[in-house]
C-alpha cells in the first residue's frame, strides 16, 4: 500500500500534466508540483509555507471560493468566465496569459478538512482550437450569405453585401469598394462617409498598387512603409482586386486601426469573398446591360464567370462559354438538346421537372433552385439556377444564370460530417445512425436481405470512469470502437449512440451470419484483452435481433427491442458473476 501511494505521489509531483498545489487551512502552501515550478518559475522550496494570497495577489478575486472549500464545497472555475486562476504569462499572439480551468476541493484527512487542493489545467490550445472552428463556421456562413446574393440584379445591394460580409469576416474597422472609372478608382461603397478618387497610376496608394499588381496586397503597418493612406487612423491595410483575368473591376479595401490586424485565414476568406463579389458584380452588370443593346449584353455574357442561357420553345437558343465549360457540351451539341433532363442527376429530377414546367407554363415568373447536375462526361456538380421569364424577339423565353456551387456544397458536407459522427470514436453518432439506418433498411428490402441489429453496452463504464478516470474511460470507448471496426464489414453501420452504448446494423442472409459475426467479435475482444499493460478488460453486453424489412417496423422499436435484450444479457452476466472487468 505504501509503495503504491508513494508511486502516485511521485507521479503527481513530477509527471502529471496539471498544476497541483495543496495548502493548509491558513492557505499556506504545503505541496507544489513540478508543473507549477516549471510554469511559475518558482521552486518548491521557495514557496513552501508561503500564503497563496500574498504570493499570487490575483487569487484574491477568488478568495471567497477558497473559503467555501474550507466549508466542504468543491468548485470548478471555467476558463470561459475566469480566464485563468494563476497569472502565467505566455508568448502567444492571442492570449497574454495561459488560459486555465481550475478545480478546487477540500484536502480531507479522516473526514477533517485540513486544507485545500487546487488543480489547474492549461486549456489555451483547446480554447484556440474551438475559436478557430467557430471562426470557420462564421466565415462559411458569411460567404454563403454573399453567395446567395450573387444572383441579385441590383448592383447597389451587391456592393452592400460585400462591404458587410468583409467586415464580418475580418473584424476590420472600415471596408471600402473602389470601382474603376476611366483612369481613376472611385469610392462607390463604404461603411462610413468618405468620398475619394484615386489615380490609377499612383503607386504609393495601396488600392491602385494592388490593382496594378493584380494580387492582394497586405500592409501590416503602413506607417513603416512608403505607402500613403487617405485615412490617417488606418494602420493595417488589405487591398483585394475585384474582377477576373480579362477585366479589372475595382478594389476591395479593408482598414484597421490595429497593427497586423489580419491573419492568413482572414486573407484567404476575404479573397474568396472578393472572388464571389466579382462574380456578383459582373452578374449585376450583366442584368443592367440587358436594358441596353443586345450586342453589349452578348459581349458581357461571353466574358461572364456565370453560366447564362436563353431557352425558347423548349430549345436552348443561347449558351455562353461559361455554361459550355460547366456542362462539357459544345455549343452545337447544346443547341440541339431538347430534353434538359440529361443535365440533371436522378435524385433531383422530379424537382427539376416540376420547376421547369411551372416556369415554361408561366405558373411562376422566376425560380431559384439548387440542383445536383451531371456533366457530359458523367461527373457530377452542384449548380444554382436563377431563371426568369422574359420576352425575346416578341415571344416568351426563359433567361437563366447558373453558378457553380460545388465547392460550397463540399464545405457544407464537411460541416455535416462534424455532426453525424462522434468526435471521440469516429463512429456515427445517434443522428448519423438514424439517418443512414433508414437507407440501409430500404437497401435490404430491395435486395431481399435481412437486417441484423446489435445493441451493445460497454460493461462497467462507470467503474472505469470512477476508478481510472475519464481519460481512461474515453480510451475504453475508443478501443471498443476500434474492435468493432475490426469486426464488421466496411458497409455495415456502427455507431456510438449514447455514453457507453454502441449499435451495429448490417445486412445478412440468415441466422448463421449472426453467429459468425458474434464469434468474430468475441475473438477480437479476447485478443484485445490479452494485450500487455492493460488496466481494464473490454466486455460488451449484447442484444441482437434479426429483422425482415419486408415486414416494416419503425427503427426506434427495433432499437428498443435490441436494447431490452442487451439488458437481459447484462443482468444474466451479473447473476452468473461473469463480469470480467479489472486486471
Amino acid at each position: 500500500m505504501e509503495n503504491f501511494l508513494t508511486g502516485i505521489l511521485y507521479w503527481l509531483s513530477n509527471f502529471i500534466p496539471l498544476g497541483i498545489f495543496i495548502t493548509d487551512r491558513s492557505f499556506n502552501i504545503v505541496f507544489w508540483n513540478s508543473w507549477m515550478e516549471k510554469n511559475t518559475n518558482l521552486k518548491g522550496q521557495d514557496v513552501l509555507n508561503r500564503n497563496i494570497f500574498e504570493l499570487f495577489p490575483e487569487l484574491n478575486r477568488i478568495k471567497r471560493y477558497y473559503e467555501e472549500v474550507l466549508q466542504g464545497n468543491s468548485v470548478i472555475l471555467s476558463q470561459r468566465f475566469h480566464k485563468y486562476t494563476i497569472a502565467i504569462k505566455i508568448d502567444d499572439r492571442q492570449f497574454s496569459y495561459m488560459q486555465q480551468t481550475t478545480q478546487i476541493f477540500p484536502f480531507s484527512i479522516n473526514n477533517e478538512i485540513e486544507g485545500t487542493i487546487t488543480v489547474i489545467e492549461d486549456v489555451t490550445e483547446r480554447v484556440k482550437r474551438e475559436e478557430e472552428y467557430k471562426k470557420q463556421i462564421r466565415a462559411l456562413r458569411t460567404l454563403n450569405e454573399v453567395q446567395r446574393s450573387i444572383l441579385s440584379i441590383d448592383i447597389d445591394k451587391c456592393l452592400e453585401e460585400i462591404v458587410v460580409g468583409s467586415l464580418k469576416l475580418s473584424g476590420a474597422n472600415t471596408s471600402i469598394i473602389y470601382l474603376k472609372k476611366n483612369e481613376h478608382l472611385e469610392l462607390v461603397k463604404c461603411n462610413c462617409a468618405r468620398k475619394e478618387i484615386i489615380n490609377l497610376e499612383d503607386k504609393t496608394c495601396v488600392p491602385a498598387y494592388a490593382l496594378m499588381q493584380d494580387r492582394p496586397v497586405y500592409i501590416s503597418n503602413i506607417k513603416k512603409t512608403e505607402f500613403k493612406c487617405l485615412n490617417p487612423n488606418a494602420v493595417s491595410i488589405l487591398a483585394l482586386p475585384l474582377g477576373n483575368d480579362r477585366k479589372k473591376l475595382g478594389v476591395l479595401v479593408l482598414e484597421s486601426v490595429k497593427e497586423d490586424a489580419f491573419d492568413k485565414d482572414d486573407i484567404i476568406n476575404l479573397e474568396t469573398l472578393a472572388l464571389q463579389g466579382s462574380i456578383a458584380l459582373e452578374n449585376a452588370n450583366l442584368f443592367e446591360s440587358l436594358k441596353e443593346s443586345e450586342d453589349r449584353y452578348r459581349i458581357l455574357t461571353e466574358q461572364s464567370q456565370v453560366g447564362v442561357f436563353l431557352i425558347q420553345e423548349d430549345k436552348i437558343i443561347y449558351a455562353n462559354p461559361k455554361l459550355l465549360e460547366l456542362s462539357g457540351y459544345s455549343l452545337e451539341e447544346m443547341l440541339k438538346i431538347s430534353d434538359f433532363s440529361i443535365f440533371v442527376h436522378e435524385e433531383d429530377m422530379e424537382r427539376f421537372t416540376k420547376n421547369y414546367i411551372d416556369l415554361a407554363q408561366g405558373n411562376i415568373d422566376l425560380a431559384r433552385e439548387e440542383f445536383h447536375c451531371v456533366r457530359k462526361n458523367g461527373t457530377s456538380l452542384y449548380l444554382e439556377f436563377f431563371v426568369v421569364r422574359t420576352i425575346y424577339n416578341g415571344k416568351p423565353a426563359l433567361l437563366g444564370t447558373v453558378l457553380d456551387i460545388t465547392d460550397r456544397k463540399r464545405l457544407e458536407e464537411e460541416l455535416r460530417n462534424l455532426s453525424i459522427t462522434d468526435p471521440l470514436t469516429g463512429l456515427y453518432n445517434r443522428r448519423g445512425f438514424i439517418t443512414l439506418a433508414e437507407h440501409s433498411m430500404e437497401l435490404a428490402r430491395r435486395a431481399g436481405k435481412k437486417i441484423l441489429i446489435m445493441f451493445m453496452d460497454l460493461d462497467n463504464m462507470k467503474w472505469i470512469n470512477d476508478t481510472l478516470g475519464h481519460n481512461i474511460g474515453d480510451q475504453a470507448l475508443q478501443e471498443t470502437a476500434e474492435v468493432l471496426r475490426g469486426t464488421f464489414r466496411k458497409n455495415d453501420l456502427i455507431a456510438r449512440i449514447g455514453g457507453d452504448e454502441f449499435v451495429f446494423l448490417g445486412l445478412c442472409d440468415d441466422e448463421e451470419a449472426k453467429d459468425v459475426i458474434l464469434s468474430r467479435l468475441n475473438k477480437l475482444i479476447e485478443e484485445h484483452n490479452k494485450k500487455d499493460n492493460r488496466s481494464f478488460y473490454i466486455s460488451l453486453s449484447i442484444g441482437h435481433i434479426i429483422h425482415n424489412p419486408q415486414e416494416p417496423v419503425p427503427l426506434e422499436d427495433l432499437l428498443k427491442e435490441a436494447d431490452k435484450l442487451m439488458y437481459e444479457d447484462k443482468k444474466r452476466k451479473k447473476l452468473e458473476g461473469n463480469f470480467k472487468i479489472r486486471i
Binding site: 470548478i76 471555467s78 486549456v123
Partner: protein, 200 residues
C-alpha cells in the same frame, strides 16, 4: 403523498431562497441577467423518478452531478435536455453563433453553473439540518436519461427518495427547462421532514 401541503410550502420557500442566491451569483459571474422560475417541488420514491423526469426531458440529457457526503449523503443533480444545455451555456457565455455540439468550454460553463446552483441548494439543507455536508467536484454526464437513472438506482442498499425541483432558466428572452434532483436515503429524508416540521 410524502409531504404535507405545509411541508411542501416550507421546502419550496427554502429552495426558492437558494435560487435567489444562485441567480445573483450567476448574473454576476456571467454578466447576463439570469432568472430562475420558482421551483415546483415533488418527492417521489426513486422507482418513479424516470416517469416524473420523462415528462419534460427528451432522451439525450446533460447532467451536472455532485456527490455529497457527511451525516447526510447522496447525489445532487442538475438535469437538462442536451440541446437545452447547449443553448443555456451558449447564451450565458455570449456565443454569437449557435453550435449543435457541446464544446469542452461550454461543458465547463455548464459545470460551473450547476456547481453554483447545487452548492447553494445543498447549503440550505445543511443549514436546515444543522449539519456539515461536503461536496465532490462536479462531473458532467452526457448520456440518455435511462442510463443515468440506472447508475443511480443500481446500488440499492436502502430505500431511496428523490427530491425533484423543476424550474426554468430565463436568459435573454429564452426559457430553458431544468430539473434539480437530490437523491436521499430514507433516513436522511426523515431527518429533513422532521426539520421542516420544526420550521413550520
Amino acid at each position: 403523498m410524502i409531504l404535507t401541503e405545509k411541508q411542501r410550502d416550507s421546502l419550496t420557500e427554502l429552495i426558492n431562497i437558494a435560487f435567489h442566491r444562485t441567480t445573483a451569483s450567476l448574473s454576476e459571474l456571467t454578466g447576463n441577467r439570469i432568472l430562475l422560475d420558482p421551483p415546483k417541488i415533488d418527492i417521489v420514491p426513486i422507482e418513479e423518478i424516470s416517469e416524473k423526469l420523462g415528462e419534460k426531458l427528451n432522451k439525450e440529457i446533460a447532467t451536472v452531478h455532485q456527490i455529497f457526503t457527511g451525516p447526510v449523503s447522496g447525489d445532487a443533480l442538475l438535469l437538462m435536455d442536451y440541446n437545452g444545455a447547449i443553448k443555456l451555456a451558449s447564451l450565458v457565455s455570449g456565443e454569437d453563433i449557435e453550435l449543435d455540439y457541446f464544446s469542452l468550454s461550454l461543458r465547463e460553463v455548464l459545470m460551473e453553473m450547476g456547481n453554483i446552483l447545487l452548492n447553494a441548494c445543498l447549503g440550505v439543507f445543511g443549514n436546515l439540518l444543522e449539519m456539515h455536508i461536503s461536496f465532490s467536484v462536479p462531473k458532467l454526464h452526457l448520456e440518455e436519461l435511462d442510463s443515468l437513472l440506472d447508475t443511480l438506482t443500481i446500488v440499492n442498499e436502502e430505500l431511496k427518495y428523490a427530491l425533484i425541483a423543476f424550474t426554468k432558466f430565463r436568459v435573454k428572452d429564452s426559457a430553458i427547462d431544468g430539473y434539480l434532483v437530490i437523491i436521499l436515503g430514507v433516513a436522511s429524508l426523515e431527518k429533513l421532514i422532521e426539520a421542516l416540521e420544526r420550521l413550520g
